[in-house]
Each structure stands twice: as structure tokens, then as C-alpha cells.
Symmetry: C2
């Protein structure tokens, strides 16, 4: 079938595909279509499972039209929510937040949960789920507008702008005087150093992303962190959303329900035209987006 792509998703993990280092997914070849999640409309179909006009979500990449044999595509019901949410709160970022928070960070009511990259597509959902689960939620983000959004709109208990703070540890220690029960990490680096120093006994660190490290040519040096895990009997665990693939339907049902109940809110940052994708991608890696970063390639 031929698909007209309407929305292209820009996600931090794509940066990893631009390196030659061996990772969980192969590197992009020079000249290949850039990897990316998309939502589009079927223009023409010779596939028995899809008809013209169907809205589909899948990894069709940075292009305006795509040919697909249907593998890896999921049909989207535009009645449930705006179709762009299939790339955000009801898509890979929402699923990543759902499983990372509930299965890896494993928060209990009353616990203190800290989230870095808290205003991003994943962090903002993770924080709201932690609130639904009865936790005290602290966000770290990179602008005052994001902090206002987290506390004012999403119901985070506290948040701080790491760009306007000298000593992350001091600020975090003030906000979390009894320590951190679980840390949902999208960022890594010096922010994470501060969080590790405040881990409570039996704390969990869910390593979702390390965006501060993706653009480095050489591995960055930092204080060694494993002794914190030892003395606190704490655990740090990396995860990828794919490992929970069998449970996507359950998670999407729950996320959809929370969305309908008004318990999950989201924002989107949309630029127009594929020509703006590279600059928007770079801006997202620098944290200059506000909400899920999308590129609109056609009128929905």
C-alpha cells in the first residue's frame, strides 16, 4: 500500500542510530531513510487488511510517502483521540513511560519519585502515572516554562529548572529531604550524579534515556556511582520499550482510559514540513521543545 505520512515523530533514540557503535539496533547507513515513527493515511491499498483512508502508525521514517506491506503497522481509530497521540501519549513514548515507571521504577504510594527530562514526551507521562499511583513526584527540566507546566498543569509536587541552578544536589536534597525512592532517568550526566547521592535504601533507578550523553564523541567522565547502589542495596536497570511488546494492548487501554478521564495531559510541539525536521530534531536533543516533538507533513 501507499501511505501519505501526516505526522513524523522526532525521538531521542534516533540519535543512537547515527553512531557506528554496536547497540540494540543497527546503525543507519549513509543515504538511507532516517528512522522515525509516523502516522499516515492509506492512499492506495492492495493489502486485504487495509483500505484507502485508514489511519496507520508505524516506523515509516523521514519521508512524505511510504510503501508498506503492512508489517509493523497498527490501525489508529481517529475517534478515540487526535491521531498525533499515536506517536506520543498513546504511542511509543506513552508505552515507554508506562512500563518503565510501573515495571522498572516500581513505585509505591507515598514514595518520592524523581524524573529527569520530566517535561518530555516520556517524562511527562511517567510523572503523571506516578501521581495516579499516589506518589510524591519531583520533576527536573530545562526551562521555567516547563517547570510551570509540570507543577501548574500536570500536578507534579515540585520541579526545578536545572539550567538556573548551580548545585543540583543541594536543590534536590532540599526538595527531597528524606531521599529518593525511585528515579526515572531520561538524561544521565551530572543531574543523575545528584540523584544517585540521594537514593534511599532499596531504591530503584529506571534508566530510560541518557540524552546528555548521546552527542559526545568520547565517553564522559563522572564520579563513580556503584558504591551508592551498594550501600543503599539499590538497583539501576536499563530498559527498552520493546521488551514489553506483548503487553502493549493492556497498556494502551489503560493509557486511553486515563486520557479520557483527564488524568493524563499532554502537549505537542509541531513544526511544518520535512525540511524543518533536522533543525527540530537538533532542538529536541537540546531540550528546546515543549511537549512531544512532531513534524507535520500533510493536513490531518
Amino acid at each position: 500500500m501507499l501511505i501519505r505520512i501526516i505526522y513524523l515523530s522526532l525521538d531521542p533514540y534516533v540519535r543512537g542510530r547515527m553512531n557506528q557503535a554496536k547497540s540494540y539496533a543497527p546503525s543507519l547507513e549513509i543515504g538511507a531513510v532516517m528512522v522515525g515513527g509516523t502516522v499516515g493515511k492509506v492512499v492506495q491499498s492492495n493489502h486485504s487488511g487495509f483500505v484507502k483512508g485508514d489511519i496507520v502508525e508505524g516506523m515509516l521514517g523521514w519521508q512524505e510517502y511510504a510503501i508498506s506491506d503492512g508489517r509493523g503497522l497498527r490501525k489508529i481509530d481517529p475517534q478515540v483521540a487526535p491521531i498525533s497521540t499515536a506517536l506520543g501519549v498513546l504511542g511509543m513514548p506513552g508505552l515507554t513511560a508506562y512500563f518503565g515507571l510501573l515495571e522498572v521504577a516500581n513505585p509505591k504510594p507515598g514514595e518520592t519519585i524523581v524524573i529527569s527530562g520530566a517535561a518530555g514526551a516520556v517524562g511527562s507521562v511517567a510523572g503523571q502515572i506516578a501521581k495516579i499511583k499516589g506518589c510524591r513526584v519531583v520533576g527536573i527540566a530545562g526551562s521555567d516554562a516547563k517547570i510551570n507546566y509540570l507543577v501548574g498543569e500536570l500536578g507534579f509536587d515540585a520541579a526545578f529548572n536545572y539550567r538556573s541552578v548551580e548545585n543540583y544536589y543541594e536543590v534536590l536534597n532540599e526538595i527531597c529531604p528524606d531521599g529518593i525512592d525511585a528515579y526515572f532517568d531520561n538524561v544521565g550526566g551530572t543531574i543523575t550524579d545528584a540523584a544517585f547521592r540521594l537514593l534511599k535504601p532499596k531504591a530503584r533507578v529506571a534508566i530510560c534515556g541518557q540524552i546528555s550523553q548521546y552527542n559526545l564523541e568520547e565517553p564522559e567522565m563522572g564520579p563513580r556511582l556503584l558504591l551508592h547502589l551498594l550501600v543503599k542495596q539499590a538497583r539501576a536497570e536499563g530498559f527498552l520499550v520493546f521488551q514489553f511488546a506483548e503487553r502493549y494492548p493492556e497498556a494502551l487501554r489503560q493509557l486511553t482510559q486515563w486520557l479520557k478521564e483527564g488524568k493524563l495531559k499532554y502537549r505537542e510541539d509541531i513544526v511544518d514540513g520535512i525540511g524543518n525536521a533536522p533543525s527540530a530534531f537538533i532542538a529536541m536533543l537540546q531540550g528546546r521543545n515543549m511537549g512531544k516533538q512532531l513534524v507535520k507533513l500533510a493536513v490531518p
Copy 2:
């Protein structure tokens, strides 16, 4: 009761009590009796549960005689094994190896398990249990004599002397060409950096000790490691043997059985007299002991 201490155990964790930093146990006060595991003989008893001549194990510290109300003491049967083993393979180090390996590193038959500090009281037991469980076991230790011991006597599949190697990663990569399924870490630092680069998907790191870091005045810098956990969906978990206290009897039964069957071997490094305890303790932190480090304070 009055107890004549026969053996004093020297263990790396005691170094942590000499710092002021907040940890899982309070720091030692200057002038207090140094913390330490001991085995001794009851000389006189007003306690209904103990009689003169009983052999007991407990945390009685660096002293030749101790007064005890019996709390935290366990009776040792000298028929089962030499009483010194209550401080080693049938004591805290053996229990640490048992739970850390089986519950945290969680090895499966055929997997490759790497152990740092492999010739120590904990590492040597962890490696032998991993062999019992059908794993391929690789040890890292600090002398050729230790390497010969690990491979020649304990049945490790491979081992290397980190003091005679320039690039730990290259050597480990050569020995573990398919990567590492589980890493039992007693050492930390640059050895651990190399192991993290070789973790396989879903690998487990059991953080038992970080002896390379205990004597540092300032936290050491090293390459950031969390990205390895992320891309490998791997887990690093600190543990303390106390968290498994309810299961000590089960573990001691199993360790005793393996010892009787000849599946568990051990060595002891014994110095005489309490005056030699400080220098032996320092030597142990430098890895100059061979086997479980004990101080003999009286004729058994």
C-alpha cells in the same frame, strides 16, 4: 558470659566503618572496639543457653576476651568443619557469595559469569557456586598464585591477573568473546569499567563490594556506565547479606553439604596475635592475602 576469642575475621566492609560518611551502619567512634566477626570459646557462662566450652560465632570485635549476653551469637558444631570456617565459607563471606550469586547475579547454566576479587573469601565461593550451577566462570585477581589457585584448584574456566595486564577490556574481551551474562563485582573501578563494556543483553551486575574505592579521599572519576545498562537492558544491583537473614539456615545447610561433597574448597590466610591485626587488615585491602584473612588469638 565470658568468651575467649580464638579467631578474628578481617573483612573489607570494616573499612567503611572508619569513614564518617552516612552508610548502612554507623561509623566507628575513636576509641571504640574495632568491629569484626569472631569465633570463640565460652569460658564462663551465666546464660541458660550456653555452657563453658561452647564454640560461638558473633560480632565480638578486635579483642581477646569479650563479654556477651548471647544476642547475635550462634553456636558452632566443631564436628561439622574446622571452627574457623564459621568466619569464611560457612559464615558471612559464604552467605554473601551464596545470596549475591544466586539471588542477584541469578546465573543460568551455560552463561558466562565474571567475578572480580575472585580469590577472596566471597569471590572464591561465588565462583565455585557458579560452577556448581553449570556456568562458565571467569575470575579476575591480583597475583599469578591466585590465578593458578582459581583455575588449578577451584575449577574456574579462565582467570587473569589484573596486575600484569595493561588493558583489562582487551583481555576480558578475548576471554569472553560472546560477552558477559552476569558480573559479580567485589572491586569496582577500572576493572568494572571493562566488564560493563562487555555486558550482554539482559545482563546482571551484582555489586557486592567496591574495594578499589574504599580508601579514596574523594570519589574517583570514571567513564559513565549507565548507557551500557540502557542499551543492554541490563541491571546493576547492590546488596548486603543482611537482607537475606531469614534464609541463612537454608544457605548454611547447602554450603555445608557442598563442602562435605568436596564441591566447595577454601583457603585461609592466618596471622598470629592481635598485634598483627592492623597490618593484616591493610594487606587484605591491598589484596595481599591468599584466602580468607583471619587472626588467630588463641589455640583452637
